[in-house]
């Protein structure tokens, strides 16, 4: 996280003589950004193609039989043939991830704010929160089935539990890093309580909050798939498991690819939210890139 007090490498005189205005620099980068996006997309596509070729090569060279590792074209064919079914299961999993993640984000941030606002809450909960990090949350999934029964509410609960901790811990950590003098400056202006959080502390901690949200989103998907392994009647976890037990390995691979794509989309959505919430970061990095 870049600190507010971070000293700039340029001396005063040097920077003033350069005097680069912010806006033209930013606009220049926007044009640059479109071609950068295309170049990045091409790079990703190239990596995917190389991976598929390698996969194909391995199956041919080592003569691996189809029911152990099907060649990529067979997997893609399978996905195409089953597209509607696969899409349906993807939507189920996506729904669990989104609902669970949103609940976890709200609870996690609320918990982080409470722990920062109250010394008492912090003393009671912070050690517990750190210790609970060591518990493999996946291990309690079967227990939750016992307590809550089968079905989507149980899966969403697993998602919430697994995604909650990184959000709460990073959030609390970020809020604790707000410099004491900055809090005092706020106090000297008459900012206290909720207004101090809204105007100074939460924006200051946004970087840490979003790194927690990114980890939380990644874990949310894992939670949903594990939940479906344990208790699902639909969703990608269920799809993979039922395909595997029917020895339809091509179908299992189709499910895995769908999970990868879903994970990438979910992660990118959080990154998009981050850049929308912190526009000054983009402008700042544009400046340092061109300076």
């Amino acid at each position: 996280m870049t600190a507010v007090q971070q000293p700039t490498p340029m001396s005063d005189a040097a920077q003033e003589s350069v005097g680069v205005p912010a806006r033209p620099t930013f606009r220049a980068r926007a044009g640059h950004g479109a071609s950068a996006f295309l170049r990045r997309a091409a790079k990703i596509l190239a990596i995917v193609v190389v991976l598929l070729l390698l996969w194909k090569l391995v199956t041919v060279v080592f003569g691996i039989r189809d029911f152990l590792l099907p060649p990529p074209e067979q997997v893609l064919e399978e996905m195409w043939a089953n597209a509607a079914v696969l899409w349906g299961h993807t939507l189920v999993t996506a729904q669990e991830v989104v609902v669970g993640f949103l609940i976890a984000a709200v609870l996690g941030l609320g918990c982080a704010i409470l722990m920062t606002a109250s010394q008492l809450v912090a003393r009671l909960f912070y050690p517990a929160l750190v210790i609970s990090q060591a518990i493999p949350k996946v291990a309690i999934a079967p227990l939750l089935v016992v307590w809550l029964g089968f079905g989507q509410p149980t899966i969403i609960t697993i998602v919430v539990i697994i995604a909650f901790f990184p959000v709460a811990v990073s959030g609390a950590g970020g809020l604790r890093e707000v410099p004491r003098d900055l809090v005092m400056l706020g106090n000297s202006m008459g900012l206290r309580g909720a207004r101090l959080f809204r105007k100074i502390m939460i924006p200051y901690a946004l970087g840490a909050i979003f790194s927690g949200l990114k980890v939380g989103m990644t874990l949310a998907l894992i939670g949903a798939v594990v939940g479906e392994f344990v208790t699902g009647q639909s969703g990608l976890g269920y799809y993979i498991q039922s395909s595997s037990s029917a020895f339809n390995v091509a179908q299992s691979f189709g499910g895995i690819i769908a999970i990868v794509v879903l994970g990438l989309v979910a992660f990118k959505l959080v990154e998009l939210a981050e850049s929308l919430a912190m526009p000054w970061r983009r402008e700042h990095s544009a400046f340092t890139a061109s300076a």
């Binding site: 700039t8 340029m10 008459g190 105007k199 402008e283 700042h284």
Partner: protein
């Protein structure tokens, strides 16, 4: 405008190995419109003294009076500046200055012109819409000074505002501050490590000892305002600086 009075002020911190006396029996007065600097070695509690005056840190002993009223809570009528500029990187320069107004729930429209005027005094008017990430350390501290002044505070409390800057930038900012102070003649307290900075700006300089911080001397600087840059070469100025410097030679 306001006068300040410190009456046997003390500060004791409780740490694991026992109580630590940071400040002891500090007593002096600051008249309305006076500029007073506090110099002393690191850890003598001079910053703490300033924060206690603003009501940001509770005192352990004695009393601090602002216009004959004891400080019991945060003194929001004052303007405080810190060693770091503490600009919010998500706000433009102008909106950083206006945070002072927004936080006090005053009408922003009433103060926007004043904020722009202040930025102009320190040569930052063309950066009103820039973000702090684009500014150098000296430029940030200039904006912070404008933020300290924009709400027309009764007292200025400056906690080593130039401490993190290089020598050349620092000299320029000291001149800027002197100019801004002369325009309003507000009661001002500056905490600093730099004796020459203190002598240049102040009507009186309070010299403090190391921990526990106590007052060694209070020196009146009898050089008329406005003081130009040439003042610093005058024998009178040099004499003040060397005589205060003697307190810190061991």
């Amino acid at each position: 405008m306001a006068s300040l009075a410190f009456r046997s002020v003390g500060k004791t911190y409780r740490i694991q190995s026992g109580p630590v006396q940071a400040l002891q029996d500090v007593s002096f007065d600051i008249a309305d419109g006076e500029f007073v600097s506090i110099v002393g070695p690191s850890g003598c509690g001079k910053s703490t003294l300033l924060k206690m005056c603003a009501g940001l840190v509770p005192r352990s002993d004695g009393d601090i009076l602002v216009d004959d009223r004891s400080v019991t809570g945060v003194q929001t009528q004052m303007g405080v500046a810190f060693q770091d500029s503490l600009l919010l990187e998500w706000r433009s320069v102008l909106r950083n200055v206006l945070l002072q107004i927004e936080s006090r729930k005053l009408r922003i429209e009433d103060y926007e012109q004043r904020a722009r005027d202040l930025l102009e005094t320190v040569g930052m008017e063309s950066f009103a819409d820039a973000y702090p990430g684009q500014l150098s350390g000296g430029m940030k501290q200039r904006v912070a000074l404008c933020r300290t002044l924009v709400h027309d505070p009764s007292v200025l409390l400056l906690d080593e505002p130039f401490g993190a800057l290089d020598a050349m930038t620092r000299d320029q900012l000291v001149l800027d501050l002197g100019k801004m102070w002369l325009e309003t003649r507000k009661t001002a307290v500056l905490v600093t490590h730099s004796i020459s900075e203190a002598v240049f700006l102040s009507d009186r300089v309070v010299v403090m000892s190391g921990r526990p911080g106590t007052i060694l001397d209070i020196v009146s600087i009898d050089i008329p305002h406005p003081r130009g840059i040439a003042v610093r070469e005058s024998p009178q100025f040099v004499e003040y600086v060397t005589s205060i410097g003697r307190y810190f030679q061991s």
